[in-house]
């Protein structure tokens, strides 16, 4: 492989602790190496530019059946969102639900190199992997959903942690999944009858278990296994006024549990898109921000990480395994609604949504998301996301960086709101002066998510030994800049390397890279009971046979398997 030396850039790297000092980054054999280790490198002149590791997105909906429902039922999303075939680039389409090819290219253009699909229905794992295969450049993994899974509900009713862990290990292997995802625990199972679980103590119909038991049990099973990533949480009561109490109740379920993982993470729960879970009030008329309560808790508990779920004020497409929430949304906005309940496992819904700056609630949501990041004491534990595409498309990440780094940009947005004063009264953002710097942005988009995922040994930094995922941006932090300069620079990377291969040169895509699919193979003690239960449920209740359920290797042309040994 070629050697590269990226010279004279301003480096922002929390792993190395570099806060904008000039440094040279050397690449060899797909890895970052000491500059002394390269002999005859191609030199990339990064003078006056910002250098960071490739971005890591811990939570996005970019591959799988509900994303494809979004694509196929929204032809209008392609109307102004296409790009013709050109050179090495294939055809691209879509704005909020981009095609797989556009997804890979758009992430790369922002300097992102690793993206995790946040909710994979296990029965549809093959579909998710086919889409991941067709997404160029970026490494990807997918989180199978567990929180409404009949095996999990039955084992955790009696708190059978070892059985739950054995089942998790089996399902991760069968689906080639990366982590344990929990969505509206119990509530999506209830949705198969048109019902829901609206708080952590609401019993799940027919299963004699509560969301609290599901969540606590899955955290413990995850730590029993020592998986790279913690349990990844989407709590009950998403999107409802007054839901912050449910969120705090959910956080408390992780109290006292320490991480048991060799992968370097400190958290036992990652709670996603917390913006949607931080509302006070009791109706949309008086909804307000409760980020102070939420962040007081997060800041004082090191075993939790969160991501933002920032509203970007776009027309977008919501999609989630939280089936009852999506039905609620279609009743709210009367736009088209797709729903799929998945046997024994989960459900999902898809509804288009317009986050208009003229609607007070949308503006409040916008402010809440930013507050989460600005109130964080440790930017290594709060991550930048839009819950793509739910709160907005991922192509808006650079705009979110602008809002976080510039009080002026936030004030401009406030002034554009129709209900400006009411929004200011209902939120805390106008009173927050803090402006994040690029080091903190690198924590929230690189080192932090990589650590939370248990991938700090590969991604998120520029230390020797890490994957050579390097992004060079046309942004000089030492020169005066306007807020829009931030968004412009971080929307279009000047140079990008993925595993040591140059994929973008002078803003142009020059290679489709050699993307990998990440999955976790957890080894557990033999568990005859779980295997018997699996066989029986496939025979009696699934409509596919057990032997046709497992995703075979050819769906992952370039797998990266992370081995975990939980035997003993």
């Amino acid at each position: 492989m070629a050697e590269y030396l990226i010279k004279n850039g301003f480096v922002f790297d929390p792993v190395l602790g570099i806060k904008g000092d000039k440094a040279d980054i050397a690449i060899k054999d797909g890895k970052i190496v000491e500059t002394s280790a390269i002999k005859d490198p191609k030199v990339i002149d990064a003078t006056g530019k910002t250098v960071m590791a490739g971005g890591v997105d811990i939570h996005a909906h970019v591959a799988g059946p509900k994303v494809n429902v979004g694509r196929n039922f929204r032809p209008e999303d392609k109307l102004f969102g296409y790009k013709a075939k050109s050179g090495i680039e294939r055809m691209q389409g879509g704005f909020s639900v981009p095609t797989t090819i556009r997804t890979g290219y758009n992430y790369a253009r922002m300097g992102y190199t690793t993206v995790m699909e946040a909710a994979m229905p296990p029965l549809y794992a093959r579909h998710t992997h086919e889409e991941i295969r067709d997404t160029p450049i970026i490494d990807q993994g997918a989180y199978p959903v567990f929180g409404n899974n009949w095996f999990v509900l039955e084992y955790l009713k009696n708190h059978e942690i070892e059985n739950t862990a054995a089942y998790i290990a089996w399902l991760l292997r069968a689906t080639k999944g990366y982590a344990v995802k929990v969505v509206n625990p119990g509530g999506t199972e209830a949705w198969a009858w048109g019902l829901n679980c609206e708080n952590v103590h609401d019993p799940v119909p027919y299963f004699d278990i509560t969301p609290a038991q599901i969540v606590k049990g899955l955290i413990e099973a995850n730590e029993y296994l020592g998986l790279p990533h913690s349990m990844h949480m989407h709590a009950n009561n998403l999107g409802n006024p007054g839901n912050y109490t449910t969120t705090l109740d959910t956080f408390r379920l992780s109290e006292g549990i320490k991480p048991n993982s060799k992968f370097g993470r400190d958290q036992v729960m990652h709670h996603t898109h917390v913006q949607f879970h931080s509302y006070g009030g009791d109706s949309w008329a008086n909804v307000d921000s409760r980020t102070k309560e939420i962040m007081d808790y997060v800041n004082s508990h090191e075993n939790i990480t969160i991501d933002m779920g920032q509203v970007t004020l776009d027309e977008t497409t919501t999609m989630t395994a939280d089936g009852p929430f999506e039905h609620h949304l279609t009743e709210l906005n009367h736009l088209k609604w797709a729903n799929t309940d998945v046997e024994l496992e989960t459900g999902s819904g898809v509804v288009p949504y317009v986050y208009s700056p003229n609607i007070k609630v949308c503006a409040i949501q916008w402010a809440i998301g930013l507050e989460l990041a600005l109130l964080a004491k440790d930017s290594m534990r709060v991550y930048l996301t839009t819950d793509h595409p739910n709160a907005g498309p991922f192509i808006r990440y650079p705009r979110i960086m602008k809002w976080l780094m510039s009080r002026e940009a936030r004030e401009q947005q406030f002034d554009a709101f129709k209900h400006r004063d009411k929004v200011i009264d209902a939120t805390n953002l106008a009173g927050i002066d803090r402006e994040l710097d690029l080091y903190e942005i690198a924590q929230m988009t690189r080192a932090g998510p990589a650590k939370s995922l248990g991938l700090a040994h590969m991604y998120g930094g520029l230390a020797p030994g890490l994957e050579a995922d390097v992004a060079v941006f046309d942004f000089n932090p030492n020169e005066p800049y306007a807020p829009d300069d931030i968004e412009n620079a971080f929307s279009s990377v000047r140079y990008l390397f993925k595993t040591g291969v140059q994929v973008i040169n002078d803003h142009e895509i020059v290679s489709n890279g050699n993307k990998r699919t990440l999955w976790v193979n957890a080894k557990v003690n033999e568990n005859p009971q779980v295997m018997r239960d699996v066989k029986e449920k496939f025979l009696r209740y699934y409509t596919v046979s057990l032997n046709n359920y497992e995703v075979s290797g050819h769906y992952l042309p370039n797998p990266y398997v992370i081995e975990v040994d939980a035997t003993g």
Partner: protein, 437 residues
């Protein structure tokens, strides 16, 4: 001795049964028995054994006779045809695997083709309706485990999806449906007294072409509104009774077929059928599902969804994907003389397209990729036989509920026979050489 291959997937219809057992000869070359399949599915496997099967490509001669050619010659003809065409139609894709569909998409992109699948004469109208209103649906296992109200509208699964009722819809005992069919009520809405209607609790013999009116009447009945004495030939008492049956269930499922997708009203029928389902969700849990015909027409819509953003009728001729049924659909393009070459794979437009469209295909440069002899092979210039997907080569297929299942290879194809995917890859490579990219 023989050996039995278990858990085989049936590559016939959208039911995509995956519990077949195929007995093959010891040398792995001959299929001897097929168990657990319906009669059509069993024949799908057994007739791949036909001794008179065509195993090499052939080209039509000036005197209308066939001349056998090599695969290399077929690849060359196909690549030249596609590379030279300004707007080729690449149609079908429903009876092949997703792997071939993905390569075909890349080929279509390279030559600026219009890609269309059999949805254009089948459930394309359903896809259009879903784009208007969405679709509350579920997997077939939710039907098995929960549904106690089964409605078949404009379809006849007893004939077209023979194991659907026994595997998924009417007869199975699921987790919450332990009584099987005695715990369910089945409604059939069809102008014909079909074999499916014979096992129904309620058969509403709707007048032909009046499905929209009956669907609308059901929505009124759900809300307790006054109905005319008779709607679409059904007395209001029966409509009200059917509405009450649906509302009183705990999980209702509507399966619909080409009786509503391709009769008068087309996508508007499906639009209002989905609205019926949405309305039912105010009273109970309800879902709706199209009875897709080909075993992987669903898959082709999925592959194009993630690659181009649209499920059928995808026009790539301008270098980016465009979609406009009525403009970019196969029959409209053919009849307006807008395409200058035709490539068919995994379907039979010769049998299913209007005759006026078939005549257009006959007059154009054309290639058909199909293991069978069909009406389409009779009007095309080159016929390329390939291995049977689901019998002689595996690959991904999507069930009518969009669940992906990987089909199994059970026997070797005839010696030297190419698969769809191999043929397409060779054509793609050759087109790249011709175009110099």
């Amino acid at each position: 001795m023989t050996k039995t291959v278990p858990d085989v997937i049936c590559p016939f219809c959208g039911t995509l049964c995956d519990d077949l057992e195929v007995v093959v000869s010891d040398d792995g070359k001959e299929i001897l028995e097929v168990y657990n399949a319906c009669a059509i599915g069993a024949e799908k496997f057994l007739h791949s054994q036909a001794k008179d099967r065509i195993t090499r490509p052939r080209m039509r001669q000036e005197d209308e006779s066939w001349k056998e050619i090599s695969y290399d010659e077929a690849i060359e003809y196909t690549a030249q045809m596609l590379a030279e065409a300004k707007k080729p139609l690449m149609y079908g894709w429903s009876s092949t695997n997703c792997e071939a569909q993905a390569v075909g998409s890349e080929l279509g992109e390279l030559v600026g083709a219009v890609m269309d699948n059999t949805a254009t004469v089948c459930h394309g109208t359903s896809l259009i309706a879903v784009q208007d209103i969405g679709i509350p649906s579920c997997t077939l296992g939710e039907v098995k485990n929960r549904a106690d109200r089964i409605l078949f509208w404009g379809c006849n699964p007893a004939h077209a999806h023979p194991r659907h009722m026994s595997r998924y819809s009417l007869f199975p005992r699921g987790f919450f449906t332990g009584k099987g069919h005695t715990g369910r009520k089945m409604i059939v809405i069809d102008p014909r007294p079909t074999d499916t209607a014979r096992v129904a609790d309620i058969h509403l013999q709707v007048e032909q072409g009046r499905d929209y009116e009956l669907l609308s009447a059901l929505r009124m009945a759900f809300r307790g509104e006054q109905l005319p004495d008779v709607v679409a030939g059904i007395p209001k008492e029966q409509i009200n009774a059917a509405a009450e049956t649906l509302k009183s269930g705990r999980f209702a499922i509507i399966f619909f077929g080409m009786g509503v997708t391709q009769s008068l009203g087309k996508n508007h029928n499906i639009d209002i059928a989905i609205a019926v389902t949405r309305d039912l969700n105010e009273y109970t849990k309800a879902a709706i599902m199209p009875m897709r015909g080909h075993y992987n027409v669903t898959g082709s819509g999925q592959v194009w969804g993630w690659q181009f953003g649209f499920p059928f009728a995808v026009d790539l001729s301008r270098g980016f994907a465009r979609y406009n049924p009525g403009e970019t659909t196969s029959n409209d393009l053919l009849r307006r003389d807008e395409v200058d070459a035709v490539f068919v794979l995994g379907s039979d437009p010769g049998a299913h397209f209007p005759f006026s469209s078939v005549k257009k295909i006959y007059n154009l440069p054309s290639v058909v990729i199909d293991p069978h002899e069909t009406p389409t092979t009779e009007v095309c210039k080159v016929h390329v036989p390939v291995a049977f997907v689901g019998v002689e080569v595996g690959g991904c297929a999507y069930r009518m509920d969009n669940v992906p299942i990987e089909t199994r290879k059970v026997v070797e194809p005839p010696e030297g026979m190419m698969t769809d995917e191999e043929f397409l890859k060779r054509v793609l490579t050759r087109v790249r050489e011709i175009k110099g990219v």
